[in-house]
Structure formats: structure tokens, C-alpha cells
Subunit: 338 residues, 2 copies
DNA sequence: TTGTACGCGTTATCAA
DNA sequence: TTGATAACGCGTACAA
């Protein structure tokens, strides 16, 4: 591995000058620069990242934290992040938490020690911990999916979850549904909260006041969706439609429904968030709100990179992207039969 | 950030002694060690990774290269790798190549510069390049999915693809199929080669000699599966069953089949590799060979960590894991109707 | 058992 | 415009 010093010696220059060329700094004679560049290329010089980091006390690595890389939504976001990071040649340090707060805290610790240049995170922490953990991260942080609401300034990218949720519910209303239940996410998780709020609002606008038991808070895992739906199905007065706040819980709900021998949408309608079906092979295509996952990743990467600039303003930057509505075949139209 | 020197000064010790305690080295008085440990804990000392790396000229980061993180198979493998790495606190540097050889080469370059401790890779390179690239990586490399065959010594994790493929074909044979076509993967890609070989062998054992045009080499992407199947479907003498060497190509095949108004399995049977359906929501559950993805990741991580030990033998370590056969509803039984 | 002193490869400060 | 030199924080011969 050829070093700065080697190049300098060969050209009878000081390491300083060579270093300046390597780092594209001013104050180098154009001709000298040419000579150095040639030598660098000739020897295929690669700067030693470690030395560089020790000196600058930083790195260009971006840390990414997701709850579950197995969830296609997060996988796509990561792909988007990669695309956004690649041109700037920022490596990506990944951590999968399985929704465990402990693992997330460990990851942040790890990232701190690695002196990552920035963190992009779909946090599973609760609001208090988010604040404590990420204000002490020592680097720019970009949130997505779960965006803290009481943290200022904050960088975040998301869709308008409340509006999206309202849209989904209004679609169900338009199909003649009234008893629209919700399998929500954890309380305090911003996207879950917003989706619940949107659901409430759309119902309210339709003059419907949901009972307390129309809502069940899951944890975004399949099992909780199954549990929630099972519970709903024990009632005498069944819902005609159920919304699930994410894909996995919707899948769990399907299991519960079918386990009871009911059919979708004949006996019960189902709608969801992020029930994306890339292959078009889902047995039942779920009517769903889709987040632009890859775009979310790219924008998050951009925000994170922008925050690297020395004079980047330390103000809140909240980017809201447009969702799409995907009509599936999981909702029955009751208007004809009513 | 408290440093070694600070601790040393506080305890009236030298940095060497403190360093020895931090690194669990011998030759430290038990009592001194206690004092130091207490101080370390009190100050929540975190060693500076960068300084450490500069000194040791290495890191504990493991680089992972996959063609497509969006593919559930790879996502699961990564999860497995993470699980294997977490106990040893090895961070994971991720690179997604989108099957692009250039990006893979860049990733390896990047990893070299980062002085990663090891690389775990599902390579998209061709054999010659694999050899050249990864022998020069400067760290232990563990292959999975695509395992180079002319590289010794090599560390690799895979299933017995030939046997798995034979098993799949024999199942089709048992259902009365004879004209069994194959949508294979790229020539030279070990898993693709092995799957083709297994297909050939099973057919041969049944006394069937496939025509040259029974096989189409795709690139593991959905579009190529669709193209291959479209081509198959233009023939006068249609296949009764088709195998696809991975999930995405199978999905593409489904599209092509349905685009022609044919039904699976009534008009045509389809079988595949890795067409895993975690949610149980696939419209048609494909009969498929499933790789133990998460286990592959864990084993790869273990191999990689084992290779870190200073006196790790530099010999080939090929681990073969068991696949499973998942009977779906995509294969028609012709024995009754024949 | 402990301490001294040097060097890892780079960047940054200052003087030339 | 260039060069000498001092850090950055740690690990490790070697000396004590």
C-alpha cells in the first residue's frame, strides 16, 4: 500500500503538498498538481481511511437503523438510501434491531464509536428515549417512518400519514362501510399515531363515533395483527371493514380471518398500509396506502448528506412525500347491497 | 470523550497499563486492574476506534455484498449475518450491487480502504474476476449463493443445489410431467450451474433428453423470467412444466403465463427456487425449493469470525446446509389424467 | 508488574 | 506556493 510519504519522496515534495492535492485544496501550483495527480494515479494511491479519521475525528460512513430488514418496505428504503449515498461514496453501516429498543441503543453507541457522519433511522424507541438518545448522537440524524414530534430541530422524511389514513377510511366509507375498525401501531409511534388520528377524523367527518373497542394497538408484527383480528372476530357486532396500520399486521389479520372460515372481501373487508405486492402474486391484493419507499430512502440520504456541509443550517427539515392509493380486491362494495 | 491518557493521569498510572486493562491483557496487578476497571466504568470510557484501527491497521467491521437487498432471500440472509455478528459486536457494512459487476468491484475497493475484517458476499462476478478480486481483498472472504468452484482455499456456505434441483424435477416427474423446461440463471454462476446440472441429471435418469431449447438462461431478474417464459410459450410443443432457478424469474414467468390467458397449474405447471411466501398470501403458492436463508447468514458470519483468529487454518471450508421442499399448488398432477 | 517512548498515516498550523 | 512539524489516540517494544 503506497503512502502519501512515498509519493512525496518520489516527487521531491512534502507530504503537505501531496495531501493538498489529494484533498483538492487550493494553493497548489497547477503544474505541481498535475505531477502529483499523475503519480497518484500511477501508484493507484488510496488514502488510509483510518489515519484520515483519526486526524479529522470523523468518518464518511452513514449508519442506518431499521426495525426489520426483512420487511420489504424497509428493504426498499435501504435501497433508496444506498442510491442516494453511492454517488458521494459514503459507505453504509447497517443495523437491524428487530424492534428491540436495547438493540437500537446499542446500535447508536456503536455508531458513535465508529464516528459515523450521520444516522438515518426508523426508530423503535419511545419519544422520551428518542430525544435523549439522538440529541447525544453527535452527528446529524434523519428520521423516517417514526418521526419524533417534540424534537426541534429535526430532520425527517415521511408521508402525510394522517391524510393517507383518512383517504383510506374515506374510500371504505364510499364503499358503504360504517363499522370500520383499526389495527393500529404502538402508541407514541408517530406514523401509528397519525394513522389513528386520520382514521378518527375520517370517521368523525362521516358522523361516526367509533367505540373504544374498535381500535387495537399492535406492534407492527404479524402476530399482533392476528391477535387483534381474532379479538375483533369474537364480537357479536362484527366490523364490516378493518384497517391495518402496516403490511405485517394485515397479513396476520388475513390469517385470523381465514382461520375462522371467513372470506375477504365477501365476509369482511380489509385495507392496509404498505401492503405492496411487487410481484403481483398476492393471493388477495390488498387495498392499500403505499409509501414511496425508495424515494424516502433517497431523500433521507440527501438530507443526511446536506447536513454534512460545515455551514449546514441546524434547523428543522421535514420532507413530506406523496403516498399512493392502490385499490385492491380486498374491499367489498356495500352500496349496491345496502 | 475521555481518553486513555485521562484515566491514566487520574490514577497516576501509565497509558500502557490502562491500555492493557482495556485489552484484557496479562501482566497487570489484579488490584491495579480493579482500580482501572472502576475508573473506566466511572467515566464510561469508549476506546477510539479510529486510533485503534490506525495502530492495528485493521477493523472489526464485516463487509457484506448482495445483489439485491429487496429480494427476501438476501434480506433474510443479512438478518442471519447480523445475528451471527451481533454477539461479537462486529458492525456490518452493507453494499447492494443490483447485480452490477462494476458496483461490486467498487464495493470491494471501498471495503479494502475501510480495512474490513472480512467480507461475506453473494457475488455477481464471473469466475475469472471472482478469483482476481477476492484473492486480493486482503481479508477473509466467505461466499454464499454463488460459490466459485476453481478457487482454493475457499470459504463458502450453500445448499446442495444440484441435489435440490434434481429433487424438484423428480417431483415434477412423479406428477407425470415429461416436458420439463428450465429458466436457468447466468452461465458460470455456481448455483445456476448446479441447478441446471441437477435438472439435466434428473431428466437423464428418467430417460428424457431435453432439447437445447428447453433451457433459457436468465439473469435472476423478473424481466428475464418473463422473457424466457414468453419464448417458451410461442412454441407449438409447449412444456407441461417449467422450473425457474429463482423466485424473481418465477414471478416473471407467472406474468407471461397469465398474459397469455393460461392458468397455473391447469394449463402449465411451475416450480421454483426460493419462492418463499412468509405471509402465506401468495395468490398461487409455488412449489419450491427453499434455502434456509437465515441459517446461511449465520453460518457465513460464523465462518467469517472464525477466520479472524490469528491461527485460523487457511484451508477450504465449504458448509452445505439442507434445503427444504415446499409443495405448493402450482403443479398439476398428470398421472390421473394421462 | 509498570512506565517510557515511539510510530501508525494523515491533516493542519505556521513559517518560509 | 511550499515545507517542516506537531498533533490525533492508541498499542507495544523495550527498559526499568
Amino acid at each position: 500500500m503506497v503512502k502519501l510519504k512515498d509519493i512525496a519522496r518520489e516527487l521531491n515534495l512534502s507530504t503537505s503538498t501531496v495531501s493538498r492535492v489529494v484533498n483538492n485544496q487550493d494553493r497548489v501550483d497547477p503544474e505541481t498538481r498535475q505531477r502529483v495527480m499523475a503519480a497518484l494515479k500511477r501508484h493507484n494511491y488510496q488514502p488510509d481511511e483510518n489515519a484520515r479519521r483519526l486526524k479529522t475525528n470523523s468518518s464518511n460512513v452513514i449508519g442506518v437503523i431499521v426495525p426489520d430488514i426483512t420487511n420489504p418496505f424497509f428493504a426498499q428504503v435501504i435501497k433508496g438510501i444506498e442510491k442516494g449515498l453511492a454517488p458521494a461514496r459514503h459507505p453504509l453501516l447497517l443495523c437491524n434491531t428487530d424492534e428491540s429498543p436495547e438493540r437500537e441503543l446499542e446500535a447508536v453507541q456503536l455508531f458513535r464509536r465508529q464516528k459515523v457522519a450521520g444516522i438515518i433511522v426508523a426508530t423503535s424507541l419511545e419519544q422520551r428515549q428518542i430525544r435523549k438518545t439522538y440529541t447525544a448522537a453527535g452527528c446529524p440524524v434523519v428520521f423516517f417512518d417514526n418521526v419524533p414530534h417534540d424534537l426541534e430541530p429535526v430532520r425527517a422524511v415521511s408521508i402525510d400519514n394522517a391524510r393517507a389514513s383518512s383517504e383510506l377510511v374515506r374510500f371504505l366509507l364510499s364503499q358503504g362501510h360504517q363499522r370500520i375498525f383499526l389495527i393500529g401501531g404502538p402508541v407514541g409511534e408517530s406514523s401509528a399515531d397519525a394513522r389513528e388520528q386520520g382514521w378518527r377524523q375520517a370517521l368523525a367527518e362521516a358522523g361516526i363515533s367509533p367505540g373504544d373497542d374498535w381500535l387495537w394497538h399492535g406492534d407492527f408484527q404479524e402476530a399482533s395483527g392476528e391477535a387483534a383480528m381474532s379479538r375483533f372476530l369474537t364480537r357479536a357486532d362484527l366490523p364490516t371493514a378493518v384497517c391495518a396500520a402496516n403490511n405485517f399486521m394485515a397479513f396476520g389479520a388475513v390469517k385470523a380471518i381465514e382461520a375462522r372460515g371467513l372470506a375477504i372481501p365477501e365476509d369482511l373487508s380489509l385495507a392496509a398500509f404498505d401492503a405492496h405486492d411487487p410481484s403481483g402474486l398476492m393471493r388477495l391484493s390488498l387495498t392499500s396506502i403505499l409509501q414511496p419507499a425508495e424515494a424516502i430512502g433517497q431523500v433521507a440520504a440527501d438530507l443526511c448528506l446536506a447536513a454534512q456541509k460545515p455551514n449546514a443550517p441546524n434547523v428543522s427539515q421535514r420532507v413530506t412525500l406523496e403516498h399512493t392509493f392502490s385499490a385492491g380486491r380486498s374491499v367489498r362494495n356495500l352500496t349496491g347491497s345496502a
